[in-house]
């Protein structure tokens, strides 16, 4: 499997402090603070409308918070655009897959590979001889990853022609090709079959063994219990509990949040 880049930062790889964001007067995220240490798997759970996905949008640079800061590997990324945050090694997937429909599966994987010569305009216009060698190597790497993920036979298929489960796997594969330090998965098991859930879980286990850090927004609590070192519970835009699954099960705030919503 494609090897993630291990973090060398001594402190938390991700530090979210007092982040707030309102939509039309409604606080979707209200003073949220959390941290993720290198090599850790942290899950964010909570009822619908708790602000989990909005928090992911803020962390990944897609939305700018009204207050608070997001530090990634010691770098303040609060005001950085999403593409710069991704280039620093924080890659996220989406709740609804965002595959590039009219591009092949192999192309989908190659889009986010950092340091491509052919992405620079002068090399692109100079022709394939200036970037072809690197492209060949990257294709081989992408094919190896596709083989690991069971999509080898689909490399030339348009991503838009894949099944829902295959798209979910493609989304993760695409993110892995960026060489992430922190992978943020937004509901990776939503709407897919149990066999795909098992496959995704197996990827997470393997990647974690390779040193990759995860922040996973997830509804499937059994998945969370098996994979997460720590669980952050959100409700109504706030963090109401932060601890192991066993600890949060006993938390009255969590019980309230899930029962009352």
């Amino acid at each position: 499997m494609n090897g993630p880049v291990a973090s060398s930062a001594p402190g938390p790889i991700l530090q979210v402090s007092g982040v707030s964001l309102a939509f039309g007067g409604t606080l979707a995220v209200n003073g949220v603070s959390l941290s993720v240490s290198p090599g850790e798997i942290v899950a964010i759970v909570g009822p619908n409308g708790a602000g989990k996905s909005t928090l992911v949008e803020v962390i990944s640079g897609a939305l700018r918070p009204a207050a608070g800061t997001v530090l990634f590997n010691g770098v303040d990324v609060t005001r950085k655009p999403a593409y710069q945050v991704a280039r620093l090694g924080l890659t996220r997937t989406y709740q609804l897959p965002t595959e590039f429909r009219q591009m092949t599966v192999l192309e989908n994987l190659l889009v986010g590979v950092p340091g491509q010569r052919g992405v620079k305009l002068r090399y692109a216009l100079a022709g394939r001889r200036t970037w072809g060698q690197q492209e060949t190597e990257l294709r081989a790497k992408a094919r190896a990853l596709l083989a690991d993920l069971g999509l080898a036979d689909w490399e030339d298929a348009y991503a838009g022609s894949l099944s829902g489960g295959q798209r979910r796997i493609l989304e993760i594969a695409r993110a892995l090709m960026t060489g992430p330090k922190l992978l943020v998965l937004d509901e990776p098991t939503a709407g897919v079959t149990p066999s795909i859930v098992a496959q995704i879980e197996s990827f997470v286990t393997d990647l974690r063994a390779g040193g990759l850090t995860f922040l996973i927004v997830e509804h499937e609590l059994e998945f969370v219990e098996r994979q997460a070192d720590r669980v952050v519970v959100m409700a109504a835009g706030r963090v109401v509990a932060d601890g192991s699954m066993a600890q949060i099960r006993l938390s009255p705030e969590v019980i309230d949040a899930y029962l009352v919503g």
């Binding site: 991704a86 890659t91 192999l106 889009v111 986010g112 992405v119 970037w131 081989a140 689909w154 695409r174």
Partner: protein, 348 residues
Amino acid sequence: MSAVDFYATTLLVYFGVDVLAAWGLNLQYGLYGMYNFAFILFQSAGAYTAAVLTLGAPTHQFGAQQYFAGAALPFPLPIVIAGLVAGVLGLVIALIVGRGMRSDYEAIVTFVIAVMALLTVNAIIPLFDGQAGLSLVPQPLAGTLRLSAGAYAWVYVAFAALVCLASYVVMHRLMASPLGRAIRAVRENPSGAAALGVNASWCRVVVSVLGAGLAGVSGALLVEFIGTWSPGSWSYAETLVIFSAIIVGGVGNSIGVLIGVFVTQIVFAEGSRFLPTSLPPNLVGSLQWMIIGVMTLAFLWFRPQGIVPERRYCVPAGRDGSSGERGAAARKTGPVPSSSLVRGRGDS
């Protein structure tokens, strides 16, 4: 020059000019997904620039024409500068519209810019000579080559063909490169591309400048050949004709776009000239627009991918060092999904 030479060379130069412009818009719309209804401005700006840089200082024209900062630069500088000026204009419009704008708003804003530009050009007579436009633009190298009018026209056709060929090579390199791939990713899903580290703003600048530059060169080629420039010929409606050529030919496919220009501009638009002369005179012009409109709608409805769909960028097994065991026959390709730009009937 014989009537046949005149007709054929004029048609071929117009064809080359239209192909260049359509390729430019294809970079913006087909490759990136930009809805730029002000595109004709770039062609017009290129044509105007080439005209004033060929005509010489305004006083040389006995005050009959008014224009800005005339010069008589040697060939091919007016054409090169026309491309640069249009490229800068493309950059300005790309910055005005911005990447955060939704495609429907982008279409509206660029359409408004095009309308405002046409009204402005018509109103500022000292700069653009109003609706009269510019004329008597000397043909490049006509004095040096000393050819007959017919021979000169064919040489110009060859030059236009060379410009088209060079532009095709540049475009093909861009589209097939990892940068082209990143630009297509932005077209397919801007958020997904950004999450993978793709700078959509830079992609937008690249297609804006190159697309507008191509349009500028195309306008320059035309004005240097026909010798006139009139704002009325560059109305915003002309952008729709270029869109039609792209939709008919195949969004995102350069050869398809060339075929689209041939079908819309030569076969149908030009073909309508051969309609019976008993028809009312104004009807022929209107029929051209109607035919192009109906054809565009028919393609959007029945064949949204166009005559030649965008190519599938994949590499045959073994060609780039991949395993020969996995032959092309073993690989699944799946159906072609509908484009994010033009969706067929029944697509969500």
